[in-house]
Structures are given as C-alpha cells and as structure tokens.
C-alpha cells in the first residue's frame, strides 16, 4: 500500500510539474506569445478598426500586484507545506482593488457610454 502512495505521489508530481514546465518553456522560448501583454485597446475614430493600442498603466499595476500576491502565496506554502496558508484580507483586498482598477480603466477606454460619463 505504501508503494501505491509513493507511485501516486510521483505520478502527480510528474504530470503537474511537467505541465508547468512545458508551459514555462513555451513562454520562455516564445512558443506562447507575450507580445502586447501590457498594451490595451482604446477607441480611436481615426483607426479603420475603431480601436488602437497603447501601453496601459492599469495593466502594468495589475500585473505587478498579481506577481506580488502569487509570490507571497508561494512563499507561505513553502514555509508550511502541510496546509493551505491563510491569506490576509488586506492582500485579497489589494488584489481585488487592483483588478477592479484594471477593469474600470479597460471599460472606460473601450465602452463609449462609460467613457461619456467622464467627459
């Protein structure tokens, strides 16, 4: 029975770790494109498609907060890998606020009715 547990452990480790490694490898080698990750669409009447792209501060802050929270979470798990760590409400609030800001900026830039509110 112990061999069965060990086998299941290694199987899970190889499959989950393997998927992680394949996606990471594709991200590093350009197999999964990260181009325009920080660029956002804005409505542009002069453009043939009606939109143009520009670097977006909302995306940059959302990405920074996401990486911070993910790193913080991983550190907590590494310190105590016996149970899920408790995430402080302030960190969750910061993440929610950051994503709300990103989505609000995107909506303001892309939806004309919301955009008109700020005119």
């Amino acid at each position: 029975m112990r061999f069965l547990t060990t086998l299941a452990y290694w199987e899970g480790a190889i499959l989950v770790g393997g998927l992680f490694c394949v996606v990471l490898w594709k991200l590093m080698t350009g197999g999964i494109s990260l181009n325009y990750l920080l660029d956002g669409d804005v409505r542009d009447p002069d453009s043939p498609t009606g939109f143009s792209t520009t670097p977006s501060p909302g995306r940059i802050q959302a990405l920074a907060v996401t990486l911070f929270v993910a790193g913080y979470y991983l550190l907590q798990v590494m310190h105590n890998p016996k149970e899920f760590p408790k995430m402080p409400d302030t960190v969750l609030g910061a993440l929610a606020g950051s994503h709300a800001l990103y989505l609000g900026g995107k909506a303001q830039a892309m939806l004309p009715r919301i955009r008109d509110l700020f005119k």
């Binding site: 069965l4 594709k26 494109s33 325009y36 990405l63």
Partner: protein
C-alpha cells in the same frame, strides 16, 4: 491533426490500454493476499497507470506542438497579443494547483481549502470573465456604430 497523427494517436491509445490491462493482470496474479484485496490493488494500479499514460501523452503532444497552445494567452483584441486577464488567471491557477499537489504530497490527505483561497481564485476568474464581457461589449458597440454609419445595412465594408 492530419491522418498520420490520428493513426499514431490511435496506436498510442491501444498501447496504453494494453499496458494497463497487463499491469492489472500481473498484480492480480502475482501479488499474494485475499482475492478482494488483490482486486482492489489491481484496479487501483491499473487506473494509476492509465491516468499517467494519458496525462503523459497529452503532455508530449503539447510539447511537440501537436496540441497547439501558442494562442493560450491571446484574445481577439486589435493588437492580437497576450491578454493580462488571461495571464493572471494562468498564474493563479498554476500557483494554487502546484500548492495543492505539494500539500497533498506532504500531508498524504486531502486538505481543507480555506474560503480566502476560493476568494482569490474567484477574483482572478471574475477578472477574466468581466474582461471578456467588456471586450464583447466594445465589439458590439463598434459594429453598431459602423452599421449606423453605413445607413443601417449592417455591412461595414460597403
């Protein structure tokens, strides 16, 4: 996927099933013990082997490019590039998935998932969902305005 790839996949699938059946048979015949216990062990080992082989085949297909994940992070924006909302969802899914695997391996039991972890995943997935909604709404608005500009015919290329 062309005909040759399909043939290879069919052969791989048959090979996996054969390996699974052989491993179950070996355990059922050669492991000593009560028949019921042997049956349980044979089925459990067979399922483990089958899941591993299927998972490994999918991983190999992704790595070799037969399953194309090059557009995993792309959305249908103007630039056609990567999407921040998809990227953050990928990061949180991986981080929590890897943590779950690590915790299960360390404690050898299924852990209780705290509500704030579910909230974390909820925030991440909601961001992706709302982002898609905004994108779809803006496309509808753009189509609507081009329809109006073209005399309500609905053809922007006229």
């Amino acid at each position: 996927m062309d005909k040759e790839d399909r043939k290879i996949f069919l052969l791989m699938f048959l090979g996996m099933v054969v390996v699974t059946i052989v491993s179950a048979f070996v355990i059922a015949v050669y492991i000593p013990g009560e028949p019921m216990m042997k049956l349980k062990l044979a089925v459990t080992y067979a399922l483990l082997v089958l899941i591993f082989l299927f998972g490994f085949a999918v991983l190999a297909a992704i790595a070799s490019g037969i399953i194309d994940i090059s557009k995993l992070l792309e959305d249908d924006s103007t630039a056609g590039g990567a999407s921040t909302s998809r990227f953050q969802l990928l990061i949180f899914t991986f981080v929590i998935g890897m943590s779950f695997a690590l915790i299960v391996a360390s404690s050898t039991k299924l852990p209780e998932v705290p509500t704030n972890i579910l909230a974390l995943l909820g925030i991440s997935a909601s961001t992706y969902g709302v982002s898609k909604g905004i994108q779809a709404g803006s496309k509808d608005n753009a189509n609507g305005s081009s329809t109006t500009q073209n005399g309500g015919t609905g053809d922007a290329n006229k």
